[in-house]
Symmetry: C2
Subunit: 226 residues, 2 copies
């Protein structure tokens, strides 16, 4: 590592490019640490944390090593400190207002999902093309017409959006988010979006998750019969 002291709040990780898979494990570490801290645990070693998540101790240490030095030899990591460091890394020590496009079944359920707040995300406004939905307040969130998107994004400084519209309308929704100035998109529609390179995205396709499971279950069976 370039630097020999823990990351300062707001410090930008060195320019060494961090693999995506490392970042996703950081999220898992953070989730587990928050649970442990809530249970009163003060410190944790890389091997304890790894065991809880099914990773090796070395992997936990290497992953953290991408971002700085957080541990105490002979002791491990202080939960509170490490949690805060990870939130700095992930950028969730500050609030992230989010817009949602599409207020169908799934969208309404996500409006009511309590888990976002825990990591500092809050859905600020929802948008739908259906005039019957516009004006409603669902789970405390107002549904706006689509043409209000740019103004709301701008005035509230919103950088992230969620696409929860049907597949056929997802690209159009993405285009609207991009031209409103959104920088990151979570896409729940089962299509690949075309986005300019400065806009980040992650996708959640529920049918694909089941397919992965179908494959794993089927090939597990094959393995067992060898």
């Amino acid at each position: 590592m370039t630097d020999s002291r823990p990351l300062q709040p707001g410090e930008i990780p060195s320019d060494a490019t961090v693999p995506k898979v490392v970042v996703s494990r950081i999220s898992l570490y953070l989730r587990e640490l928050q649970r442990l801290q809530a249970a009163g645990q003060q410190t944790i070693s890389s091997s304890q944390l790894g065991t809880l998540l099914g990773f090796s101790d070395a992997q936990v240490r290497k992953d953290l090593g991408f971002f700085g030095q957080f541990g105490y030899p002979g002791v491990g990591y202080r939960c509170e400190e490490l949690i805060s460091a990870m939130r700095d890394i992930l950028g969730t020590n500050h609030a992230w207002p989010v817009v949602m496009l599409g207020v169908g079944n799934l969208g309404q359920a996500l409006l009511g999902y309590r888990g976002f707040g825990r990591q500092n995300f809050s859905i600020e406004a929802a948008f739908d093309a259906d005039p019957a939905k516009v004006g409603q307040v669902i789970q405390g969130v107002r549904v706006h017409p689509l043409d209000e998107l740019p103004a709301i994004v701008k005035s509230r400084g919103i950088r992230l959006g969620m696409i929860v519209v049907p597949a056929e309308r997802a690209q159009e929704a993405a285009d609207r988010l991009v031209s409103a100035g959104i920088e990151g998109i979570v896409n729940f529609a089962p299509v690949t979006l075309t986005l300019p390179p400065h806009v980040q995205s992650v996708s959640v396709d529920l049918a694909i998750e089941l397919e992965q499971l179908s494959f794993a279950v089927t090939s597990q069976l094959a393995k067992a019969s060898l």
Copy 2:
């Protein structure tokens, strides 16, 4: 590759272990192919398919190579054939009945999600601890008390389950699924489950998806300022 002809329906992929990331790309290829086929396209080359999804042509060919030979030199792949081959690979050429544990906001939305059927999954029965929910029929799916789980799983030959209960109850739900004989679990609760090695799982944590995006957006910014 061991074998020199396309995979026969039901044929088990060679014992060479296939990386998970390859399987997840197979799902993306399949999703894209289904879209292309619906639009009337007959054949596709590895480079066309790769371009649509942001992968190289070589990667598409290598991925398919794990499972057999499906292409025609000078032509590419026949969409219909490749779709069927991929469904054999993933195990979705036959129907997969699924049980769901937890019928809250998110669970109800998933009951109404149309995208599962497209890949041959169908939620057969739902379960909830809340007596007020038991007996209801939501989106055509009946909600049962938890103690009926083992009998329904057994009698309907169900192998997959979804956990859509709050975090605190997720491990208990997993234990119930395991002892009912379920072989694969999709977990929507934000906790790491402890499962016996013969039970497969995939996890979807909505807050973690947003965290990944928060990191990507933040570090994109860092990159731009170099």
